[in-house]
Symmetry: C2
Subunit: 383 residues, 2 copies
């Protein structure tokens, strides 16, 4: 286990009564709340009304229309509005895209330069950060309990991330019932994204971190046992609650304590979604098993442990168990009814050379993947 520091002060408010606690928690920060959300599904499923009812004694402005894979081009408009409104709190009502976007809003509202600076100049600091809170309506990215924010610059086809201590939400409202109306593909993507977050931290070569391993495996078990229930029985409270808690716990720093992290599949996926409008987790589902094949030798012991403990694969040779574990991973994603090749998304190899060049230049994976390995993963994604 490596040396580490861990701190995560986000307050989780979880359960069937969580929506009733927005006002009492929001009022600790002031009277002016800037509510951010996406394409308007919250107006159809009743979440918008519940939020606004809680905020009836506050001064509220709204910014709607934050897209999946949120774009800095959109957020500049939101930031201009926030500069005029001067909110005491930004309340992100949505999934990871809305929360990630809102992290840029709370950072850039009291900053004179361009918002994109936060993504490319890591020492960019505003005069102050506005406190952030969230009402989670899609469970996947863990953004409700971490610092990270992934933003796309559509003009330049760049998707990258930033995170500050101050972009950690002050509180997050997690009511599993808010996930009931999610379409089945979105439910599947949430499960896959969470699964991938664990793998990026778990498939490491760090020695002597057995607790972190067990906790990662615990999340994977929970996803496997509950994932498909959220698709076949979308109003199953227990399954939604277990997936929701898993997603939050998968990326709040806990399973990362003192271990190496990889993040190769995320790095590769960001290249795909910088060029194509493919959902983030749809890309991860396709990339993950191909990535595993390429790192199989260098991460053999961990992949075998994963096969034995998570899929109960018997077998004496690590190589054999790892091979079956990769197949089981593919099968699990496929069981969630998602497309399992880039060709099905009408993506071809047109940008592969540029994507590979960018990935080699920035470095991706731990240890870094070579151009040949990246190329092999990309080509395999078409099959």
């Amino acid at each position: 286990m490596h040396n580490f520091e861990f701190v995560n002060s986000t307050k989780l408010i979880f359960g069937t009564d969580a929506m009733n606690k927005i006002a009492e928690n929001a009022k600790l920060f002031g009277k002016k709340v800037f509510v951010t959300y996406g394409g308007g599904s919250i107006k159809k499923n009743g979440i918008y009304e519940k939020v606004m009812d809680q905020l009836k004694d506050f001064t509220v402005e709204e910014f709607a229309g934050i897209e999946p894979n949120p774009r800095v081009e959109t957020l500049r408009i939101a930031i201009a509005q926030a500069k005029k409104f001067q909110p005491d709190l930004v309340l992100a009502v949505g999934g990871g895209s809305v929360i990630d976007a809102s992290k840029l809003i709370i950072a850039a509202t009291h900053y004179d330069g361009d918002a994109w600076d936060f993504l490319v100049k890591l020492d960019t600091e505003p005069e102050k950060y506005i406190p952030l809170a969230s009402v989670l309506t899609m469970s996947a990215t863990g953004s409700e309990m971490n610092r990270g924010s992934v933003i796309t610059n559509w003009t330049e086809h760049i998707k990258t991330h930033f995170g500050k201590e101050q972009t950690l939400p002050k509180f997050s409202i997690l009511d599993p019932q808010n996930l009931y109306s999610l379409p089945s593909d979105q439910s599947a993507y949430g499960v896959i994204d969470t699964y991938s977050h664990i793998l990026e931290q778990y498939i490491n070569t760090t020695k002597d971190a057995p607790l972190q391993d067990r906790w990662s495996e615990g999340v994977l078990h929970t996803l496997i046992e509950n994932g498909s229930i959220t698709i076949s029985d979308p109003k199953n409270y227990a399954a939604r609650a277990n997936i929701m808690l898993s997603a939050t716990m998968a990326l709040n720093g806990l399973v990362a304590m003192g271990v190496d992290q990889d993040w190769a599949t995320h790095g590769i996926e960001h290249q795909f979604s910088a060029f194509y409008d493919i959902p983030h987790a749809a890309g991860l589902a396709i990339i993950t098993p191909r990535w595993m094949k390429v790192v199989k030798e260098s991460k053999l012991a961990k992949l075998a442990q994963y096969g034995r403990r998570v899929f109960n694969i018997a077998g004496t040779s690590d190589a054999e168990v790892a091979e079956l574990a990769i197949a089981a991973t593919y099968d699990f994603f496929k069981s969630l009814q998602v497309k399992m090749s880039m060709t099905e998304w009408n993506i071809d190899n047109k940008h592969f050379a540029l994507m590979t060049e960018r990935l080699v230049q920035h470095g991706v994976g731990k240890p870094n993947l070579t151009a040949k390995e990246i190329g092999q993963i990309l080509e395999d994604c078409l099959k």
Copy 2:
């Protein structure tokens, strides 16, 4: 899973370089540091010198002599000293006893009444709480990352607890090397205390909390795999680190999210150590298997799951697996070379009637144990 709220803002600084980070973290709170510790072992193992070296640019006062099962009678003296010194930060250098004691010090220093008020009148509030930090020298209670404080009133033979949001340490220094010089019985007690903390939260009847179950089981596995190494090879860094992290994670609120908790063995142990000077975990080791026998029927499914997943016990009947799991628990504690009956501690049934009366009156266990069940556990502890 029940509704819950979770927040824990303690910063963990973990690893071989953690001791070098005391000054930079302490200075965020001011210049005057009140250092609290126990019987002086930190002066023998070099920890005291390292702490004082970090604090060389601060104004420091010390309070030594906090005993195991810290007593309010001792702490009144510490609080009187702190009232004169007016520290900006209290730095507890020790194990759970020193940190628990320091929680009462930070609460009662700016309070005009008697310190015991915090234990018996739960709405007691001081003018302000002094920030608390810790340097952990014995890993067991989890006090370094939770609100709880257990204090004994020796005059009245009462051992009870309190906890406030403000008694959560601001930061805790966890260097596994600081555990190298622990005597083997102390190492064993740390493992047993942690194991018991998990059981109190894990052996519940809450439905649909699979992630919390897996995380609890992950801690138990880690304790079983690493516990005896800390005794046979006390300077084994990996084993010390894994036990240290497990102890902190076992009682920081995570595995308790949305589940019922029991705390019967702790409740019963507090009665023993209110009358006898027996180490807390020495009592837990003896009480736990006896408690399991008595709750076997009411918690059968979970005890069977525990047997299957943690001890890999095969068997078709839950009753059979649970019985073997209870025996395996006894054997695990015994393998840590601790006494497995109260008779070995020269304790007899003299106070059992009063202990039972108190436990029934306050209520212990979930559901509450009856007087007959408590009596059965106590008598069985003598065998």
